[in-house]
């Protein structure tokens, strides 16, 4: 049975120094607004929950601001740091290779939600108790897989164990 390990919301997101999605509200709903032309990224930091043993996936819930055709693509990366790892957090990041959703058709009506499941094949050997970061990007500069116009609004994401 699938298990929800954590939920990621716009208000709990963290942002790099540049190229990050705007935190705003749409109809009083908090969203992260991902640009259509610049690849933008947001992070979430948490501790990997106890009991975590299986394969992980990340289910992203989003809607489009205006697009009713075309595709979008998410790129999701995991950084897992175990106690006593030789990772200098002051100066480095150590995200594993990104996991891409592939081209995903947007809903035919702007404002309708879609949920995209991305299998986290590259999960940086995550284990319970690790300090982890989840990175979610819209692959806006991929002219093949991300063709939809306008902003993408990320509403939430779920870290799910299969």
């Amino acid at each position: 049975m699938a298990t929800t390990r954590t939920a990621l919301t716009p208000f709990s997101a963290e942002f790099p120094s540049s190229n990050f999605p705007g935190l705003t509200t749409i109809n009083a709903r908090p969203v992260l607004a991902y640009d259509a032309s610049t690849q933008e990224t947001a992070y979430w930091t948490l501790v990997a929950p106890q009991g975590l043993t299986g394969a992980l996936s990340c289910i992203v819930t989003y809607m489009m601001a205006s697009a009713t055709s075309g595709n979008i693509e998410f790129e999701i990366a995991v950084e897992a740091i175990t106690d006593a790892d030789a990772t200098d957090l002051d100066a480095t990041t150590s995200f594993d290779t990104v996991n891409a959703s592939g081209a995903t058709a947007v809903p035919g009506t702007a404002g309708y939600i879609d949920q995209v499941s991305v299998t986290l094949t590259n999960a940086d050997s995550i284990s319970a108790g690790d300090l982890i970061r989840i990175s979610i990007s819209r692959d806006a500069d991929d002219a093949t897989n991300d063709t939809a116009t306008g902003d993408l609004y990320l509403l939430a994401a779920e870290l799910r164990e299969a």
């Binding site: 259509a36 489009m64 601001a65 205006s66 697009a67 075309g70 002219a143 939809a148 116009t149 306008g150």
Partner: protein, 81 residues
């Protein structure tokens, strides 16, 4: 002279950040529209708009002043800013 590739792309990017961004076409199709409109303006539109202005105003107004009037007219007609 038409806009540069970078200038056209900047328009394309800006349009996608507006609330009335066209949603029924893809990004490449939207960029094609920008390219086609700029090509048309260069080949036909600018001369036609200029010719529509009566004399002596046509000879008195600068290109920039004519462009501002044209923008104001389009903005009012189609309620875009």
């Amino acid at each position: 002279m038409t806009l540069t590739t970078e200038q056209r792309r900047a328009i394309f990017v800006d349009v996608m950040r507006t609330t009335d961004c066209p949603g029924g076409i893809t990004k490449s199709q939207l960029l094609d529209v920008v390219n086609a409109l700029d090509d048309w303006w260069e080949a036909t539109g600018a001369a036609a708009a200029n010719a529509a202005i009566p004399q002596p105003q046509r000879g008195i107004l600068t290109t920039k002043q004519k462009a501002r009037l044209f923008m104001a007219l389009l903005s009012a007609r189609y309620e875009v800013t």
